[in-house]
């Protein structure tokens, strides 16, 4: 047994005698808590994962229905839209920005494509493209305002939040468009795929794909690298010759594109295009990003964390609901659980040795 765990400090293997003070320090006794902390620290994604697993067990104990594939698929569907929007939000927050217009853009894109297809009989593929184009254009407007006018992203997106919301309502007249009135492709994202009991919508798959693609781009490409550099220290990035404005513009535009895709997923999820569909999307998407460990000051964080952050909130909400916790108590518990979950994460990250 001693030979199978050579990496564990303080194992009973005959180690070479400690010959420096630091080595002696490394071989000191540690409390079990410290050991756990230490292991978890080596894999930063483990800690939110752990929170997920523990809450899975607890909530399933409270109501066995929680553990069923059925409920799990439900949570995935409930979380999908916020998780998708949070991809764009993550990109923007990584550049030390913030996007308050995420919900407004998604609604604008959704209503445009839905109404165009319902009223003027635009065919499905075109309608979907229109939605994505509207999202992209709206994101590009944010980006232009941020880079040309040099306004704080908070102000820009606060302004466009109003502008895009009003445009969506003026265009739609507050009317929602029902699924039946749209081409099939528009609601295709709500179609269920049965994966051996896990009944998941195609929309959920699209969200997973979004995470894979953007996660790859962030870690593996020049663009991702520059995005982190700009968020970390824009002046340094400028001095080493990165075109800060170009990076920022592309980030806001791509975020808009992601919101445009999310609009499509949202239609499938809601079974309709309604102007209130994503009212809380701003705070919820920012919450997922921050719980996922990305810094609001930019330059630090990872996309995987955002996904886990979105899932944690979904777990808490549905888990408490299935446990039969009443509305106000549920709100209270979610507040506490968020604080606790992030505290655990912080505690693990804090470890130094």
């Amino acid at each position: 047994m001693s030979t199978t765990s050579p990496a564990t400090p303080g194992a009973e293997t005959p180690a070479p005698p400690a010959n420096t003070a630091a080595e002696q320090f490394a071989k000191r006794r540690r409390s079990p808590a410290q050991r756990v902390q230490h292991v978890l620290h080596a894999y930063p994604a483990i800690s939110p994962l752990l929170v997920l697993v523990v809450s899975f067990l607890v909530f399933t104990y409270l109501n066995p229905n929680f553990g069923t594939l059925r409920t799990q698929s439900l949570i995935l569907q409930q979380v999908a839209v916020v998780a998708a929007l949070a991809v764009g939000q993550t990109l923007i927050i990584l550049t030390a920005g913030i996007d308050l217009s995420v919900g407004a853009i998604a609604i604008l894109a959704m209503l445009f494509s839905a109404k165009l297809s319902a009223d003027s009989g635009l065919p499905g593929p075109l309608a979907v493209l229109v939605g994505i184009a509207v999202g992209t254009a709206a994101g590009a407007i944010n980006g232009l305002l941020v880079t040309r006018l040099r306004l704080p992203p908070f102000i820009v997106t606060l302004g466009t939040l109003s502008v895009f919301t009003a445009m969506a309502l003026l265009y739609s007249g507050g009317q929602s468009v029902q699924a039946g009135a749209m081409p099939d492709l528009m609601v295709w994202t709500g179609e269920i795929v049965n994966l051996g009991g896990l009944r998941i919508t195609t929309g959920v798959f699209m969200v997973v794909l979004l995470y894979v693609v953007i996660g790859f781009v962030l870690k593996q490409t020049t663009w991702g690298r520059h995005l982190y550099a700009v968020g970390n220290d824009a002046e340094s990035a400028r001095l080493v010759g990165i075109s800060v404005n170009r990076v920022l513009l592309s980030v806001y535009t791509i975020a808009g594109l992601i919101y445009g895709i999310t609009a499509w997923i949202l239609i499938g999820r809601a079974g309709a295009a309604s102007p209130n569909a994503a009212a809380d999307a701003n705070l919820e998407s920012i919450t997922a990003v921050v719980i996922g460990g990305t810094s609001l000051f930019g330059g630090r964080g990872a996309l995987l964390g955002t996904l886990l952050g979105a899932l944690i909130v979904g777990y808490f909400r549905t888990g408490l609901s299935l446990a039969g916790v009443d509305d106000q108590w549920r709100v209270l518990s979610i507040g506490l659980l968020v604080i606790i979950a992030v505290s655990i994460d912080q505690w693990i990250r804090k470890v130094r040795a």
Binding site: T71, G271, D280, L322, D327
Partner: protein, 335 residues
Amino acid sequence: ACGSGGGSGSGGGDDVGVTLITKNSSNPFFVTMQEGAKKAGEADGVKITTAAGKEDGDEQTQIAAIEDAIARGDQGILITPNGPGVNPAIEKARDQGLYVIALDTPPDPADTVDVTFATDNFKAGELIGEWTKSQLEGEKATIAMLDLFNDKIISVDYDRDQGFLTGMGIDTKDEKKNGDEDPTGSYDGGDYEIVCNEPTTGAEDGGRTAMENCLTKNPDINVVYTINEPAAVGAYGALQQAGSEDGVLIVSIDGGCDGVKSVKDGVIGATSQQYPVQMAELGVKAIKKIADGGKAPEPTEGLDFYDTGVQLVTDNPAEGLDSIDTTKGTELCWG
């Protein structure tokens, strides 16, 4: 552990599980409804779980609550729908074998749910409209319409608004559309001017801001229609701070204990009283009955919902208009 079937396998023993989903949980009307449902549930062996939108109009939270009810294994859902956006989720619940009853607000279309227990909102509006007309005695009516929303179309909103105008004797044009009336013209007895249609979201601060907006447009308003009593409270605050609360007729709908007291104090002229506890009790009983193999009650004759009744509360009764005074109103009030 996997593959749970239809609506079976509730978490709480052999109780029947029901979720009550209200519009929000800060309006005393809905809090009363929750309490009423809990009480009725205890009596009938029904386990009630409550959920609510974050505010009036919040459809997303209601949709998630419906889905959770399905997942929890509940037999039925009682919902005061926040808008048409929840319809697909209701349909999904019914497909899964849950019994869904709407309370307070009939969905559009009405057959989205199995049955609705609600106030006849058009009539509730009509009553205060007729009362207002009689109080004015031919004087010019300068009217503020403090509605629920302006970005969403929902039955309580247009039913009450259009009912009120109908009661006044004003041509409402499209009966499902607020604000398409002629801005000026004559009602049964005199001239009218509609100054504004402002959204309140059925809450105090919304009511206050709405009233302030109307007052800046025309400080001579003498009739204020409000969608519900929280909005009326806000409207009164605005009038008071503008120093023009005297001689203004505020009318509202709800009949909560605070509202009836406002009528008594002369702050509100008249209010149409609703009976939320009744709605909740009827709803719980209906689901229990169906779970035990019985049948649901039928809608009231001539309506697409089951009418839980409405009465006009005022201390200045109008001729030919049935009403109860505030003493009686206080006996029947809730909250």
